[in-house]
């Protein structure tokens, strides 16, 4: 049975990908057997019932009407091997027969997913797939970015792997379909693929490659800019950044090629700009491979433009320094003129005019900086320096204080997000220099007036109102983002503010804020009556809760669906307390060992408090996982993530929680999130083959092929037996890793890790 089914699946694969004839009689035999018993023999570790259903579905598609009672909804997701894609391809094929363009494209996509399962017929299969995709594109009135991305990818693969370049032109022409679309992952990916197409076309037109390099550079730049930050907010933020990184690298490398072929002098500033962008992204992504690439490119940039770049930078610095000195001289002259004036009001007016002029410059400069950089710590320092001057507390030391504040650079060990955001700041040298010069002039003016009594007080008053206007003006340039998935509890918000501000409450700040709010509400004469009543109830409840340690324990059983691991999610849920139905209405306080909840007796309506002691989160998770393994508890990714989070909040490096959270996120399609947690699991236990290989496969899907291959090689060195067992169990992973090794070797033929995997003759290579 195994052999029959396996070879029939293989025959179908060849029929779909290569157009071979199907053994219909064989399939009829399979269909007949399916009526009597489940098969489940293709993959011993797979879900047998689902596999049987999948084979039934395949029978139905190959020989319509041969099976009876096949379920309408066939869950094929997660089944190993080519079965799910075969079903998708055949189903799309039957829909496409009626001329449905989207079904034709879906058919091509499912066919593409089958290619790794047919290594001996890859080229022919790819030719067939691109023909199907071309048909789908041709039949579409409006091609969506995802389809553009797919078609361009096919054309690129054919050109790169099999030197078939005839489809590149058609692929590049599809870029017109991207205009007018909001930035999104498909647009990013499609544009990135088109950059590769343009570079391939430059190779095809070897005698006149410049126009294609220019196209590649222009396309790459179009997705490097910060306006596409919106796209970075998608759940695939990390993937998006990887794509943008690739684009930035493409922009720089094509710019360097243009430099070598054309007048380098005209390109220097652009090379510098492109390089700064790559440098910034490398810092953001914090990946050793990218850092290495950055260093290699830096050498190339220096070799090509080093002297010229240095000379140009020096010229800019000289020019800016000259204008800065002129501004300070102007301020000194204004102050001297003002001092010579007889009337107080005239002196104030002269100083006010000079001050407003400086603020006018700052308004434009800071608006631009806030728009480009956001309110990063570097820009924050400028506003805080303005505030310090307006506070009148600096006496005549503002010049030194402002200079030291603005030129401050954190020590290397403190460089984190701040350093990353500074990189952007450094990219706009002239803007920053002009701002620094204006601030310096303002500080000099401040110091010159510090001992002028009434004139100084008037100046301080003016600074305050100008600061207020400047803040309002700068805020107009800030594009505030509000990600949907980001939440903070109000009480948590206030507690954090108190901690940052330097408050030192005797107890945990969060509990302090909650309790303080309750106490204050009670003692507030003008507080709303219901608030006072609530507070009274809370305090009375708290007193009871505090003495609850002396009371006998009570049994709380949450109603089905009301079991939550996070306290804030408990509010509104119901359960039975000693058999009586209750509802949790509020969180009254939190401590290290317990949480106090406000409960309502649903029978009597009486409100009271109950202290719940925290169960050890790790023990709770292990119990839950045991339930999953034994099948007592159904697998629910949301619940798994919540329970893992409960552990990770207390033990951020817990391997079991990190790994299971990663698996759950992966199952939900959040590969970037999953990869982050696989990283944590790897850090906790770097010798575990599962940690390493699942992380590697997440990295492959994120495009970080070299690191993925490195991890795979590492895992093989750790435990060869476990490594092979993994790939025997996960077929699709094996095919994907084999493909990845091939790609890495094409890009970097001497990659030691890929060679070690490929040359040993072992799986997955």
């Amino acid at each position: 049975m195994d052999t029959v089914t396996g070879s029939l699946v293989d025959a179908t694969l060849r029929a779909v990908l290569l157009g071979h004839d199907l053994d219909v009689a064989g399939w009829q035999s399979v269909a007949e057997r399916l009526r009597t018993y489940p098969i489940g023999a293709l993959h011993p570790d797979a879900d047998q019932t689902r596999e049987t259903e999948a084979l039934r579905a395949l029978c139905e598609l190959v020989i319509p009407g041969t099976t009876r009672g096949a379920p309408e909804h066939r869950a094929t997701d997660g089944l190993p091997g080519p079965l799910p894609h075969l079903i998708d391809a055949l189903a799309a094929s039957s829909r496409a027969a009626s001329g449905d363009a989207s079904a034709t494209l879906a058919q091509a996509q499912a066919m593409y997913a089958l290619v790794p399962f047919l290594p001996d017929g890859r080229r022919d299969a790819m030719e067939r797939i691109i023909a199907v995709a071309q048909k789908g594109i041709g039949a579409s009135a409006r091609v969506d970015p995802a389809s553009v991305a797919f078609f361009v990818l096919l054309a690129n693969v054919l050109a790169q792997a099999f030197a078939v370049t005839e489809h590149l032109g058609a692929a590049f022409a599809l870029r017109q379909h991207l205009s007018g679309h909001e930035p999104s992952m498909p647009v990013l990916v499609a544009t990135s693929n088109l950059v590769t197409t343009a570079k391939l076309l430059a190779e095809v037109h070897a005698e006149t490659p410049e126009p294609w390099w220019r196209e590649a550079n222009s396309l790459a730049l179009s997705i490097c800019d910060d306006e596409h930050a919106v796209a970075r907010w998608t759940p695939h933020a990390r993937v998006a950044r990887e794509v943008i990184w690739q684009a930035a690298i493409s922009a720089l490398t094509t710019r360097l090629l243009l430099c070598k072929h054309q007048d380098a002098a005209g390109q220097i500033a652009l090379v510098q700009r492109d390089f700064e962008r790559v440098r910034h992204l490398a810092h953001e992504l914090d990946d050793p491979d990218k850092t290495a690439r950055l260093e290699a490119l830096e050498v190339e940039v220096r070799e090509l433009t080093g002297g010229n770049v240095a000379e140009q930078s020096a010229a800019t610095v000289r020019s800016v320094a000259g204008s800065l000195d002129a501004l300070v001289e102007q301020v000194v002259a204004t102050t001297q003129r003002a001092r010579a004036l007889a009337a107080e009001s005239e002196r104030e007016q002269a100083i006010a005019q000079q001050t407003r002029e400086l603020y006018g410059s700052l308004q434009g400069l800071l608006g631009k900086m806030v728009e480009t950089l956001g309110m990063n710590h570097h820009v924050s320092r400028i506003f805080l320096a303005l505030g310090a001057m307006a506070s009148g507390r600096l006496a005549d030391t503002a010049h030194e204080a402002v200079r030291a504040c603005l030129l401050y650079s954190p020590p290397t060990q403190q460089r984190s997000g701040f350093y990353g955001s500074r990189q952007e700041g450094c990219a706009s040298f002239e803007l920053e220099s002009a701002c620094f010069g204006t601030m310096r002039a303002l500080a000099v003016l401040h110091d010159l007036l510090a001992s002028e009594g009434a004139l100084y007080r008037a100046f301080i008053g003016l600074l305050r109102s100008e600061n207020r206007d400047l803040l309002a003006s700068a805020a107009r340039f800030l594009h505030v983002m509000r990600p949907d998935e980001s939440f903070v509890l109000q009480v948590e918000d206030v507690a954090r503010i108190a901690t940052f501000t330097g408050a030192r409450p005797a107890q945990d700040p969060m509990t302090a804020v909650a309790r303080a709010g309750e106490d204050a509400a009670c003692s507030q004469a003008g507080a709303p009556a219901d608030a006072i009543a609530d507070a009274a109830a809370v305090i009375s409840a708290r007193q009871r809760a505090e003495s609850s340690a002396e009371l006998p324990a009570r049994k709380w059983i949450p109603d089905p669906g009301s079991n939550r691991s996070r306290p804030e999610d408990l509010v509104g849920t119901t359960g039975r307390l000693d058999g009586v139905p209750h509802r949790i209405d509020s969180i009254l306080g939190r401590g290290r060992e317990k949480i106090v909840l406000g409960l309502v007796n649903l029978v009597t309506g009486k409100q009271f408090a109950l202290a719940f002691f925290h169960e050890d989160e790790r023990r709770a998770l292990h119990g839950y996982l045991e339930g999953l393994v034994s099948g007592e508890v159904p697998y629910d990714p949301t619940e798994v993530i919540a329970r893992c989070d409960a552990v990770l909040n207390s033990y951020p490096g817990d391997e079991v929680a990190a790994f299971n959270k990663a698996m759950a996120l992966d199952g939900e399609g959040n590969v970037a999130g999953a990869q982050r947690w696989f990283e944590v699991a790897c850090a906790a236990n770097p010798s575990d083959v599962q940690n390493l290989l699942f992380n590697a496969h997440a990295l492959v899907r994120l495009g970080a092929r070299r690191r993925a291959v490195a991890l795979a090689a590492q895992s093989k060195n750790q435990n060869r037996t476990a490594f092979h067992a993994f790939y025997q169990r996960f077929d699709a992973h094996r095919a994907l890793m084999a493909k990845t090794i091939g790609e890495v070797l094409r890009e970097e033929p001497d990659n030691a890790d890929a060679l070690a995997l490929a040359q040993s003759g072992d799986e997955p290579a």
Partner: protein
């Protein structure tokens, strides 16, 4: 007895700037008050934000700090209502924190607080309404004062005041502290009696100096040091005190308290 010829600290004249200025962050109480005022101002900003469902801070990542991926320089988080008493208002929290001590926030917290306040306000205030920004303008005065006055700590002083006459007074204060720690009263601390060579203060005239052979009292020290106050400007006097504090960390608070903080 030289010390008895000197003025008592209370008899020394006050500078005009003394009531409000603190360029080198020497007034601990003033810094604490600034921290408390910062908290009050932030509460006034956070209350309307919460009313609009916006939080001022961002969720913390696994490392316990805000993650770079969240782009803190241009993003806000939403609030979740069930996290605490519904009647949590700025007035209530402020009155509840009336007896909680405050310490001046560190540099990283200052930068973070202003960033959060600005982005949160930008997300909630009507565009271009300058009146809505008065609280943030006051906030940058308090936070800016703490941040910039701290610029002149011992490590940064030399770099910050390079080629600036204030470095001389900073070193002079440090020298006075060294003398006092060895039981020496100079008796005529006056800038003209000292020189400045290669960044170091040298004594030109020690004619009134006296080695007591014992530990000096705080008042003796304050009377000796206070003489400088009669001959230098406000900022120079503050630099002297800063130098004294950096050299004699244990004794300085009591001595400087006698001299007005």
């Amino acid at each position: 007895m030289i010390a008895e010829q000197l003025l008592e600290p209370e008899e020394l004249p006050a500078y005009e700037e003394e009531p409000y200025a603190d360029p080198f962050g020497l007034r601990t109480e003033s810094l604490r008050q600034s921290a408390r005022r910062t908290f009050e101002l932030l509460l006034r900003l956070v209350e309307p934000a919460h009313a609009q469902g916006i939080a001022m801070t961002l969720p913390e990542g696994t490392s316990g700090s805000v993650e770079l991926d969240s782009r803190p320089w241009r993003s806000v988080a939403r609030t979740k209502g069930s996290g605490g008493p519904e009647f949590l208002t700025a007035d209530l929290v402020e009155s509840a924190y009336a007896h909680v001590p405050f310490e001046p926030p560190d540099d990283a917290s200052i930068l973070h607080l202003f960033q959060r306040a600005f982005v949160c306000r930008a997300a909630t205030a009507p565009l271009g309404a300058a009146d809505e920004w008065g609280g943030v303008a006051e906030l940058i005065e308090e936070l800016g004062y703490v941040l910039l006055s701290r610029t002149f700590n011992a490590e940064r002083m030399r770099a910050a005041l390079e080629d600036n006459p204030l470095l001389f007074y900073f070193r002079l204060g440090a020298l006075a502290a060294k003398l006092h720690m060895k039981g020496v009263l100079h008796g005529d601390l006056h800038p003209e009696n000292f020189g400045f060579q290669d960044g170091n203060v040298i004594i030109r005239d020690a004619g009134s100096g006296r080695f007591t052979g014992r530990t000096l009292s705080e008042r003796e020290r304050a009377r000796d040091l206070g003489l400088l106050k009669l001959t230098v400007r406000f900022a120079e006097w503050e630099a002297v005190k800063l130098g004294y504090r950096e050299e004699a960390r244990d004794a300085a608070p009591a001595v400087l308290a006698l001299l007005g903080g």
